[in-house]
Amino acid sequence: MTTTQLVSAFTTDDFVPCIAIGAEIAVQSRPSENTPIRLLLVALKGSAGTMTENVDIIGPVLSEAACNVAAGAPSELARGFRASRAMSKDVETYLLAVPAGSGTAATASILIGGTWSTPGTLVIWIDGEPVRVEVGAADATTDVATAIVDAWDLEAESAVTVAADSSTNTFTCRDVTTRGNSKILYVDRSAAPSGLTVSLLPPLGELLTIVNELRTDLLAHFALTAGSVHGGADSTSGASFGSAATSYATAIALVNLLRTGYAAHRVLTSGSVHGAADSTNIVLLSAATTAAEAVLLANDLKAKYNAHRILTTASVHGAADTTNVTAATDATDGAVAGDSDTGNGVSFAGGTGTESVALALAKIAADPRHFKRICFSAIDATNLGLIETFSDEQSAAMIQKPSAVVLAHSGTQSAAQAISKTQLNHEGFSVLWARSAETPAFEIACAHMTDRVTVERNSPAGWNQSYSGKVLKGVRLARSVDLRANDHATQKSALKNGLTPLASNDAGETVIVRAASTKCLNGDGSANYGALDVAEFTTVMEVCERSGNIWRFFRSQNPKVRDDFAVGEVVVSGVATPIGLSRYMSQGMADLPGEGVFESPCLVRGTYNRTTKRIQWTLSYTRAALHEQSEGIVQSLA
């Protein structure tokens, strides 16, 4: 007879009378929980950041200080992290930097003018953040420009830098990207010295484009004799044009020269230049003295010149000049509607350059961690195509690492829905829309996604939740109330087209109207709002993952597989069958109706495929509807 050694606490030389008692605790064995919902931010880093672009996925990042070291305090990535922390400091957040593309940083300029004799404070708003500049009673305009630079030197987290040139300040985005063009500069002069003026200068790039193209076209047109356009070349009217403009000052000077030269050419009949003077296409505007006047003059000159060059009536020209067309878009003043505090603002402009997220996506795909929630700063069509392909591949049946993506757009509704409906139409993507929002789009996306993480990580009740009316802390919408999506018609139109509009509530806070996915179109062109609420994607993907976890555990208990046992057949333990899996999976999902995820218990149907030796199952459920709308009648009874 053999004995079993239950306890081995006695040493061989221990002869003390006693009893050794061990304890065993029954550990409940059950399927794994779904992987945690992590937040990954993908954007540009600053030059001071220590992380390596496209290589390091750092995190969880636990503090703004740590983020600033890795990404650089004023970087897009760090600013997004701060926006996230404004919503919650209790989110597992990771950072991945992408290198900026080549291009030009967006700029905006102001001109300080006027005279004053009292001190005051000038407040400059960029990205929804105020910078206060103290103005002395005896300061000159150049002193104010310098004071603005000094004030900005203290703003280590600002996304722009500023330089002074005499009385002009030029603000330049730190990042080289087209997204810089979405920034808006406002100036609050309510506490500034009386008499101090701040002129918002129009975008320099647009002005230079049209003025320099006009110069080229006018010179070519003046000299054109081929095709009998002119009877002789006009070699005098453009003689003083000089070189192309490169600054506000040279643009103003050049457009005035063009005005004078065009006026002379238009009526020139000597030398058989024209058969008759063009007395129709007259530029009536006076010479420009400011950049804003130069914009108006250049646009008017373009219109009049384009009409003149094709004028053949009364033999002004022998034939139309269809070659030297000035096709440049009309220059603009860059004005963006503001409020009573600041008046209109001015858009940054001239920003070019687009990074590529291709290598970053490859890095995410190769990482063993599952990043379920990702915010990208890139919203251009090329990168969105890459992100969408990545998303689909990660969601594939054999990979099962789906990610929900949140983007934000601060352009017009037409431009935003070009992204949401035309470009994406994808259930895993949300595009928040806040036209002319002061808070940068990426930061808005980070704020909302952080809120989603805090809700959706509460498995499983958080999977099926509404965000309607949720406040986005720290997010500043457009200064002008008219630009906000506060009206029913705009909200309806936006939601129909896959946008998630933001609006203001009665307290002036920024709220989500309804968090929608971009999926809104069927293959036959009909509307598809089956995945309207983001809860649809979250629920499907989390239920998929849980069902996978249930199968894995079920398999560990039942390593063999066969078809259902027949009636009367001896049931063997450790063998998986379709009905066994169906029952087990149903039990594993049994809590979901009570958690408000399923409307009622799910239905699991299993079958056995003898050829592949696999159990195949279908899990059917109806997601509990979110109570977004209702109808009622209130009757006043006599």
Binding site: T329, S414, A418, D487, H488, S493, N522, G523, D524
Partner: protein, 171 residues
């Protein structure tokens, strides 16, 4: 919100959004949902394209469906509402006449079709890819010359020529 009983005459600016990856215009200028227009977009309609890519095999949401946009770059009458006035101010549509510009509170700076052509030129320059390809895909060579821009019509669905990428004449 209706501002008056007058109508505005506008032309869609297909280039008010950046061009798509393939160089096509993607802008969708929505009609005012508060008005019974019967169409979703000003001067445009969506043509769905099913992209049956491998990556979405088995995806519970079905195959990838993309949209191509077909434009009718022609004057279109719309009610005078805040919605349409805002679109004119933001450059999503261009006013076709002085009265429309005045009603929207902007300056009339020239024929709308010329402005569309200017916007197209700017968009193509900004596109950064092959300019010729972008123009060819958009079909801009089919634009009528500025001088022969069509007169405003009461109902573009019935009377205006198709000037955009959609050559089938469908409305």
């Amino acid at each position: 919100m209706r501002l008056s009983k007058t109508m505005l005459t506008v032309m869609v600016n297909p280039f008010c959004a950046p061009l798509g990856e393939d160089g096509r215009a993607m802008a969708l200028v929505a009609h005012d949902p508060g008005e019974q227009i019967g169409r979703d977009y000003v001067g445009a309609r969506v043509l769905p394209v099913v992209v049956d890519n491998k990556a979405r095999a088995g995806n519970p949401f079905g195959p990838s469906v993309k949209a191509a946009v077909s434009y009718r770059v022609a004057p279109e009458k719309v009610p005078h509402t805040t919605h349409y006035a805002a679109q004119i101010k933001s450059g999503e549509t261009f006013p076709c006449d002085v009265e429309t510009a005045r009603a929207a509170g902007v300056a009339f700076v020239g024929p709308a079709l010329e402005r569309v052509q200017g916007a197209a030129s700017h968009a193509v320059r900004s596109f950064g890819g092959s300019v010729a390809d972008a123009w060819a895909k958009q079909g801009l060579e089919a634009f009528v010359p500025v001088e022969s821009a069509p007169a405003p019509q009461q109902d573009i669905a019935d009377q205006t020529p198709d000037l955009g990428a959609d050559k089938d004449g469908d409305a």
